[in-house]
Amino acid sequence: MADASGSSADKSVQVKLVLLGEAAVGKSSVVLRFVSNEFQANKEPTIGAAFLTQKCRLEDRVLRYEIWDTAGQERFHSLAPMYYRNAQAAVVVYDVTKASSLEKAKTWVKELQRQANPNIVIALAGNKVDLVQPASAPSPTPVAESEDEADDATATPGEATGEQPESLRQVPREEAEAYAQEAGLLFFETSAKTGEGIVEIFTEIAKKIPIEQILASSRGGAGRAGGVGGRTGTGSQQGGVNLEENAAKGKDACNC
């Protein structure tokens, strides 16, 4: 089989991470940004959950994230435990331009805190901050990108007008941050579109994960070759995560 790494001694620590959140808040986009450093209209239909992997170097350690990007539709909610069980980390995403998405995020947090692995590291990510930032960062409205979202009903209203970005914001940073603090979560505001805050989520999670524990308890931590890419089965990502300490992805590319 194409399993190059096999059981060769591999110092990488495998971390199971699950993404949860209301539909269309940008979970898949966040993962895509992290895994392939790109932003595009989501082409991969998610049935249940999409599974991706990405390596991440932290100091002298290599972390191998196994990412489960769950379907956001409400009726798939009851399937979520299947994906978050045994997860060491979770990223709960909401959309800063949609207040109700924070409410949903809170219910996910509650559920995780009661039903998931008790040591789970949870990060709360308020996504789509690019929409609420002043135009100082040249408000990216090139044709190519608006095309991506042109026919996407979920594209947030106002994106086109983009006049007073701050007014689109429905969740004040302070409010979410205070909640995160109170609930003991890592907190970030992110944009899958600009890449802001994305890598930070995963590095901060990596720092907080009790790696030694995992190493001790894991079944050897021998990584199988990571597989990304969809039904074609090709490891499609070339670009690295723009994180200096990011590991080379030789292994991920081997399952062509």
Binding site: A2, A41, L79, Y83, S100, T154, R219, G227, R231
Partner: protein, 975 residues
């Protein structure tokens, strides 16, 4: 923040009849809408043994089997339920002839639309055959009258197979001319996006041309579309893969969606038109997914494909608002639209979602969960080593297999392969998914045993699916073996080795796990409903759970009206904040809910009829309850959520004396001005009387009338009077909404009475009981073979019948008694505390209620429990109070019936009020009338009671009654 769905409660195992309809790809009854049913409803169905022969040459064997008349269809299946079968609309039968055959043989020759002729020899006895024929005649006539016969021609023209054969025929006649217009006739026939955007896969590799030839030959002699007959060759042809151009039509025929399209002409267009511009949660969700449905297929990069997909999905969601739209349906729809028109796809999608994969896409996705469980169990059975490995390393099958089932492999393997599995799926039914799934695991068994976690499992599966086009035996010396692809290997193993997976087996496995799945879904939604409460207030989680159970039961009994769809078009604005779906109940459901929790909100009749004693619970209706409903509806929405109920109950269940008094006061202070009007005082008294309506003795009645006179007295005394007027004068006339007494006054008046004080102190709180709600039982795994909810319903029906019967007998023999159980049950004996010294000063006491004095006098005479009560039939005991001693506890009926007159005077005292006459009860034991296991206890007791009764009264019954009683003993009506 949560929706509570009870539809799983109605989840029934399919009946034998329904399974038969499913087998023949016919709509199951529940599915048929309106006209269809009315038209065929009265026509009788019948089945008969028959031998089928193809009427032309000797190209096929004769097959013994069964012929089914299922108006408006005729269906046949060979005995093995596999080799040969057909389902044809009666309207395609052009001629029926009784064959003039040898004596003793009864045969019909049926000429079908496509010039095919079949002969069915009815092998049953003659009268049966005659009956069948006459029913067939009636059914045919009905179709003729309905005009269906005429509809056939134009319908059939939409089917591609027609042009295929027409071309062949004209080719034979004149080679040149027809070829030219074959293209144009082709466009008359329905087809999918593939016509324009090409079909996936290389036509040469798929050997399209030779497949087409084989099919043409087959269809020529075996009918097509509506009249297609399935002979063994047919299944083999499907297994090698349908040719692209015929695929859509074949799917329709195999799945039976063809019959739906035939029966509902124009419905697809109509649905779209009627709902034009309408938006809903479903349409929004559909929009999000349109561009992620087979995006690599060129049509879905154009508006043409996207538009078709949108319309099909929307039309489905409009026609089935309860299912709406579920992710994965987009993939199915996108896939089938490649091969068929929108209308065809619409009906096929319906058959997939409703019939072939029932419950897969519903809001709870129970069908999906159930089949995942079934699949797991089959893996356990068929691949035990793998199953154990997965258990050992804690890998969940579903992480990989869920999408296989939900999207029929389309999302998992290259499309060309998935479509071939789908061909088989429509031909052989849902078992194919299980067979293929098992084979995938089996073929990859070695590697799977190395897998250590979910991720590794997914990864391995991905690699396997990507390699399906490779040779299965690349090393083999035999070039023919080398040519076998891994996909072919997959199908081969599926149908050879896993032929043991039958429809029946799947049905049985589903039955086995259904209860478990329903239970886990229900408890999951219960947990999340509780978790999602904004606050539990002072309740524990367990108590909230009990409240949830009561709510759930209430919703089962009295479903709240479905949340209506937003009105069509213009009125809905996109930017209005999207309401999260949440279950809210109306007044009717609330009454049921409250009756589960508050003893006074229900009417509990203890019925004894000489055979049994039972408690019958009814939901009470009273202004008091309605008032609480509005009181708790703090947002004035006309409905209550789970949170509202929790908050409302919190406001009343944890109160001390003063808080309870205040609660009661506020409840009746409608305008919340801190005062009750005089009318409100009256209403409040009525509320009290309502709560006390079944209490024993007249203590409460007395208390209420004292309360009233004191309240009026006090209120009048405190009324503002004109300056200098004599305080002893009559008070000025009241205006209807004039503030009358305030909380402080109310409190004083209440505290003036010992009965009321203790009522507010503790008795009222004790009428709220959070107890395990006796739920309608769900079938559990062990009983499921016999069980199923249906049985539960049947047995509760039985129970009613039994009750009715025994009541009747009881009445005839004069043993039928009904008592009401009190809500508080404090005063078991008829003793009554005296009123306290009034707080009112003597002057205020001016008109010291004579009524209340009189009442005291009147109520002094106590009812002596007759010592003769020993002679009363023992079965008058209230069964729930198990500890009541039979010998002492029973009151003679005469003692009871004597009582109401006693209260007449008291009733007068309560002049203005209309009150329910106090019912009487044996309340020997006080307080503790826990009703926990009343149902069970009662059930167990029933048969013993009957036995005992019969023994004791053997001679007292007429022979007929004895017989009835005997029957009842053997009827086993309960549980």
């Amino acid at each position: 923040m949560s929706t509570i769905s009870t539809h799983l409660r109605n989840f029934k195992e399919p009946t034998r009849e329904q399974l038969n309809l499913l087998f023949f790809s016919l709509p199951i009854d529940a599915e048929t809408h309106g006209g269809e049913k009315a038209a065929s409803g009265e026509l009788e169905r019948m089945e008969i043994s028959a031998v089928l022969t193809l009427g032309v040459q000797n190209i096929e064997d004769a097959y013994p089997g069964k012929l089914y008349l299922i108006p408006p269809y005729l269906a046949f299946s060979s005995l093995d339920r596999k080799s040969v079968r057909f389902t044809i609309p009666l309207s395609t039968i052009r001629r029926v002839e009784r064959l003039n055959a040898r004596a003793g043989i009864y045969a019909l020759s049926l000429s079908l639309w496509h010039n095919t002729k079949i002969v069915v020899q009815l092998t049953s006895l003659r009268p049966t055959a005659d009956l069948f024929c006459s029913l067939l005649r009636d059914a045919l006539k009905a179709e003729l009258n309905r005009g269906q016969m005429k509809a056939v021609k134009s319908f059939i023209e939409t089917c591609y197979s027609e042009s295929l054969l027409a071309n062949i025929e004209s080719d034979n006649k004149e080679n040149a001319g027809s070829k030219a217009d074959s293209g144009s006739t082709d466009s008359l026939h329905l087809g999918g996006l593939g016509l324009k955007f090409k079909y996936p896969g290389d036509p040469r590799k798929l050997r399209e041309a030779s497949k087409m030839k084989l099919w043409t030959t087959y269809l020529k002699t075996h009918g097509r579309n509506l009249t297609l007959l399935r002979y063994p060759q047919y299944t083999r042809l499907v297994q090698v893969g349908l040719p692209n151009r015929l695929r859509g039509e074949m799917w329709e025929t195999l799945s039976g969606s063809l019959y739906l399209r035939f029966a509902h002409p124009g419905e697809y267009e109509r649905i779209l038109k009627e709902n034009e511009g309408r938006t809903s949660t479903s349409t929004e969700e559909i929009e999000k997914d349109l561009h992620r449905s087979l995006p690599e297929y060129p049509a879905y990069q154009s508006e043409e494909g996207i538009g078709a997909l949108r319309r099909v999905l929307q039309a489905y969601s409009f026609r089935h608002p309860e299912t709406g739209y579920c992710q994965a349906m987009n993939i199915l729809a996108a896939a089938i639209l490649i091969y068929m028109s929108e209308e065809q796809a619409f009906w096929l999608l319906q058959v997939i979602c409703d019939r072939l994969l029932p419950g897969y896409y519903s809001p709870s996705m129970h069908g999906t969960l159930l089949d995942q469980r079934v699949f797991e169990s089959l893996v356990h059975k068929c691949l035990p080593i793998l199953y154990e490995h997965f258990t050992a390393v804690d890998v969940q099958l579903s992480v990989a297999s869920l999408p296989w089932f939900l999207s029929l492999f389309i999302n998992s393997m290259p499309m060309v392969f998935a479509f071939r599995i789908i061909d088989c799926f429509f031909c052989m039914g849902p078992k194919v998914l299980f067979q293929v799934g098992l084979t995938i695991l089996k073929i990859n068994g070695e590697e799977l045993l190395q897998v250590q976690d979910d991720g590794g499992f997914i990864h391995l599966m991905r690699n396997y699916f990507a390699s399906l086009g490779d040779s299965a035996h690349p090393e083999s010396a035999d070039p023919r073996a080398r040519a076998i692809t891994r996909f072919q290997e997959l199908l081969l193993v599926s149908f050879r080795e896993f032929a043991i997976i039958t429809d029946e087996m799947i049905q049985n496995e589903r039955k086995r796990f259904r209860g478990e799945i329903v239970h886990s879904i229900e408890s999951f939604s219960k947990r999340s409903a509780i978790r999602n409460l904004k606050t539990l207030h002072r309740f524990t989680k367990d108590q909230a759970g009990l409240i949830y159970d009561a709510l759930f039961k209430a919703i089962c009994i009295e479903p709240p009206p479905a949340a209506s769809l937003p009105p069509p078009s213009l009125l809905t604005t996109k930017d209005s904040p999207e309401e999260r779906p949440e279950t809210r109940i109306g007044l009717k459901t609330f009454r049921v809910f409250l009756s589960e929790i508050a003893t006074w909100a229900r009417i509990e009749k203890i019925v004894s009829n000489g055979f049994q004693q039972r408690v019958e619970r009814e939901v009470a209706e009273h202004e008091f309850i309605d008032r609480i409903f509005s009181f708790w509806d703090t947002d004035y929405r006309g409905s209550l959520s789970f949170q509202d109920l929790i908050s409302g109950l919190d406001g009343v269940m944890f109160n001390d004396l003063m808080e309870n008094i205040e609660w009661f006061f506020n409840l009746h202070d409608k305008n919340k001005d801190g005062y009750l009007t005089k009318d409100e005082v009256l209403t409040l008294s009525e509320s009290l009387l309502f709560i006390f309506r079944y209490e024993i003795g007249d203590a409460y009645l007395g208390a209420v009338s004292r309360f009233m006179s004191n309240a009026f007295e006090y209120g009048d005394a405190l009324l503002p009077r004109p300056e200098g007027s004599d305080p002893d004068d009559d008070p000025p006339p009241l205006e209807s909404n004039q503030p009358y007494i305030n909380l402080a006054t109310f409190r004083m008046v209440v505290l003036a009475d010992e009965v009321l004080e203790s009522f507010f102190e503790s008795d009222f709180a004790s009428t709220f009981r959070l107890e395990p709600v006796p739920m309608m039982e769900m079938p559990n795994a062990n009983t499921s073979l016999l069980g199923g909810l249906w049985d539960t319903l049947t047995s509760s029906d039985n129970r009613k019948i039994f009750n009715r019967l025994t009541d009747e007998v009881g009445r005839t023999i004069g043993k039928h008694q009904v008592y009401h159980r009190p809500a508080i049950g404090k005063f078991a004996t008829l003793e009554e505390p005296k009123a306290r010294e009034s707080l009112l000063t003597p002057t205020m006491r001016r008109s010291a209620s004579k009524a209340s004095l009189r009442l005291e006098e009147q109520s002094t005479p106590r009812v002596d429990i007759p010592s003769t009560s020993k002679s009363a039939p023992a079965n008058l005991n209230v069964p729930i109070r198990g500890e009541v001693d039979k010998a002492e506890g029973g009151l003679s009926p005469s003692a009871y019936s004597a009582m109401p007159s006693m209260f007449e005077a008291a009733a007068t005292a309560a002049a203005l009020m209309e009150r329910t006459p106090f019912a009487i009860d044996d309340a020997k034991d006080d307080e503790d009338d826990e009703s926990e296991d009343e149902t069970e206890g009662e059930d167990d007791g029933v048969m013993d009671e009957v036995d005992a009764f019969l023994e004791a009264h053997d001679s007292g019954l007429t022979p007929a009654e004895q017989e009835l009683a005997q029957d009842l003993i053997h009827a086993e009506p309960v549980k």
